[in-house]
Each structure stands twice: as structure tokens, then as C-alpha cells.
């Protein structure tokens, strides 16, 4: 993990839980099978703080220009998400040109999906005070000032700072995965 969390590294922090009436452990097992079959995973999500074309794609492309890999880091939480488990039939990189969902991929109850590689289940703590918002109107704010209320995900750069323990705000990371081009897509 130390290898991934270097200063300036790009990451997407996301809280995960029950989604479209499916438990998180079931989702993880299903997504691992998805990777075996399709060589990639569509990780469904919603909300505007990680919009595919205005946040995720520009963020990941900018990191890629510097030969840097963006990782999706996920924190399990207790939650309810009772959206209907409607499966997406098409995806689009730009919201204009639509293609059928690739063979072996199933993504339900989501407007968007991040395109990721295999999931690594490894547990470690991430200090939100070491995260700086990298995209959007709160660019430059600390992760602690951003991940609050209904904001449960975002694009960040990692910048480690020396602090006394009481100034930290640790979030337990349960699994992570590298983003793969096109990084994020629209679904319908």
C-alpha cells in the first residue's frame, strides 16, 4: 500500500454498502466473477461528485499524462439503498454514443459506472486529512472538509502531512482497484 499512497498520487475515495437491494459482499463476489469473464469491472454508482465526463475522465487522463495510475479506494459502511435492481443495457463514454454493455458485465441500479481492474481486498487506514480535493468547485479543500453529509465520494490527490494523532481522521479502506480507460461511463 505504501507503494500506491505516494505524495501526489491520484485516488478516488468511495463509501460502499448495500446497493440496489444487494449486500456489499454479494456485490464484491459478483464483481470478481465479472472480472474473470470480461477482464474488467463496471462499478456502478450515482451522484454528481464523480460525474464521468466532468470529474472522473479528466482527472484520470490528467494523471495518466504523468504516467500515474488512479486507484478507486473503497470504504465499507452500513447503508440502505433500495433502488430497483434494474440492469443497465447500454453504456457510453460521452453520453452521446451508446454501445451494448459488454458480455459478462452486469451493473444494476446505477446511472454511472467506474471502469476498473481486479479488486484487491486489503485493509488499511486512509487519513482524510492527507487527501486534497482534486476536481470540481471544492478543489484544494481537505478530504475532511469534503467527505461529509451526503458527499460520500470524490477525486483526491494524496499529500501526506506530519500530524499528531488527534488531528487525523482515519477511514478504513477494505478494497481497491486501478481505474482502466475509459475510466467512467454513463449507463442506461
Amino acid at each position: 500500500m505504501i507503494r500506491i499512497l505516494t505524495n501526489g498520487a491520484g485516488l478516488i475515495f468511495m463509501k460502499i454498502g448495500i446497493h440496489a437491494q444487494e449486500g456489499v459482499e454479494d456485490i464484491i463476489a459478483r464483481k470478481k466473477r465479472e472480472y474473470e469473464q470480461a477482464g474488467m469491472i463496471f462499478w456502478g454508482y450515482g451522484g454528481n461528485t464523480c460525474h464521468p465526463t466532468t470529474f472522473i475522465q479528466p482527472f484520470a487522463k490528467t494523471q495518466a499524462e504523468h504516467q500515474a495510475q488512479v486507484f478507486l479506494m473503497m470504504h465499507k459502511m452500513t447503508s440502505n439503498h433500495n433502488a430497483d435492481p434494474v440492469s443497465a443495457k447500454q453504456y457510453s463514454e460521452d453520453g452521446i454514443e451508446w454501445k451494448p454493455i459488454p458480455e459478462g458485465i452486469q451493473v444494476v441500479g446505477s446511472r454511472y459506472a467506474m471502469v476498473i481492474g481486479n479488486l484487491t481486498e486489503e485493509q488499511f487506514d486512509l487519513n482524510l486529512r492527507n487527501l486534497v480535493v482534486a476536481m470540481g468547485p471544492k478543489r484544494g479543500a481537505l478530504g475532511t472538509d469534503y467527505i461529509q453529509g451526503h458527499v460520500d465520494k470524490g477525486c483526491f490527490e494524496y499529500h501526506e502531512r506530519a500530524e499528531t494523532p488527534e488531528e487525523t481522521e482515519l477511514k478504513h479502506i477494505d478494497l481497491y482497484s486501478p481505474l482502466k480507460p475509459p475510466y467512467a461511463v454513463f449507463l442506461k
Binding site: N48, T49, T54, E65, P137, K138, A141, G149, V151
Partner: protein, 278 residues
Amino acid sequence: MAMLNREIMNAVSDIIMNRPLPIREVDQIYMKAGDLALQSFFIGQRFRDLDVVFIGDGDAVALSTMYLFHCDLLDVAPKSIHLLDFDERIVNSVIRFADKYRFTNRISASLYNVIDPLPSTHQRRYDAFYTNPPWGASNEGESVKAFVERGIQATRDHNAQGAIVIGDDPALVWTQEVLHVIQEASLGEDFIVSEMVPAVHNYHLDDAPHLRSCNCLVRRARQRTGTYSSEALSPDRYARFYGRNNPLRIRYIREELSLNVGRAVDQTYKLEFLEGKS
């Protein structure tokens, strides 16, 4: 507790019901109702009896200002407003609303994208411009500069004014950098800052609900001399229009014509009838 003015709130409610739903892909993030009402008063007073051009206006400040004046809820207002916007839904919503309430003599709208040269019919024609553009969080203010330049091109050679509405939060470094860039660019066009109302408007912005914008008013300090040409935006300028690796890709947002304007889209619901009543 502050007194509510029912007539003003109801008039602003009419405006909000008329606003097309925002498209986040093109940075349409709308001003909240109370601030829309206050901004209408502010613009009514500052641009009293002037011919004003709005360079983009998803918030509907132009329509709100003129409608409140039409309803005798504002004492003063611009003489006229013309809205230029690249979203046909917004252009049509202004035209339809003004026609419905019979004040087309005070407000008009047409389709225009700041990527294109300003049409000659709009050059040097107005007393003042107003713009609330994409705020340039990740492009060092490039998008704001593009909108402000069009506003300046649309205003007269002397005594011109402008209102620039952009992000303003001293805790967010980028907002202060963009303010600096824009004031510098305005000075380069012989406009000086005449008034600054910091951190005053709130928006329906889910990832930054407390981020506000300011009213930065500018006015021409030196008369424009000679000729100028309004050029298309160069590709290197719109390559970062919405931020790094996020170029301007859309010339116009076209309205899908519907007989259901202002009502719920019928694909979003279904009716379950009482037995025997279908």
C-alpha cells in the same frame, strides 16, 4: 425572523418552474430561490434603464428581473435585456415565458455559443453585460475570460458596465486566483472594478453546498478607440473550457419539442387508475 414577501416568492416560483432542468455536463448549476430574488433586485438597481446583454443565464436572473418589474414588485429595471445562450431550452423558455406574460418588449433571447465570434448585430450595442459563466476551477479562469470578453465586445465604446458572477470563497485558493485573473483581464480591456459584493449567492451544488459567488461589477474607465474584431475562440482556449482534459465539445443544446412543456415527462411515471375509472 425576516418577513416573507408572498408576491415576490410566488413570482420567483413562476420563474423557477420555467427553468429547464440543469445539465451538469455543461456546468449548469442553478442559483437558489432566495438569492435569485435578491440578485434580481440588485441587477434591477445597478442596471436601471440600461440596455443589457446576458452572456448565458441558466439561473434565469434576466427573466426574474424583468418579470418582477413587470409584476410591479421591482421599482426599477433595465430598459431591455437580450439573452445569448447556447442552450435552446433556455432561449425558448425565456421567449415562451415573456410571451405568456406579455413583456416581450423588455426581454428577448437568441442562440449563441461563446466559442463563435459575436454576431455583428450584438457588437457595441449594449450599455452593460452580465455573465455567470463556468467558474474556471481547473482552467485558471479561462472559461470566465471567454464569457467576459464577449460581454465587453457586446458593450458600447464608452460608459459600459458589466457584472461578473463567479466563485468566491477565501478558503478555496482557486476562487481567489480566478478573481485575480479576471480583474487583471478586465483592466487589460480598460475596465476597472467599480463594486465588489463578496460571497453572496448560494447554488444547488451537491458537492459544495456552501460555495458562494460574488458580484464583481466593472465599468469602462477609458473610451474604446479604433476598431476591433470578434474572433472565434482558438482551440487551445476551449481545450480546457470545463477544466483540464475537459474540453468544450458541444456547440448547442437543442430542445426536443414537446407538447408537455413545464410538466412531468410522461416516461417518468405511470398512472394507476381506480377500478372502473381508466
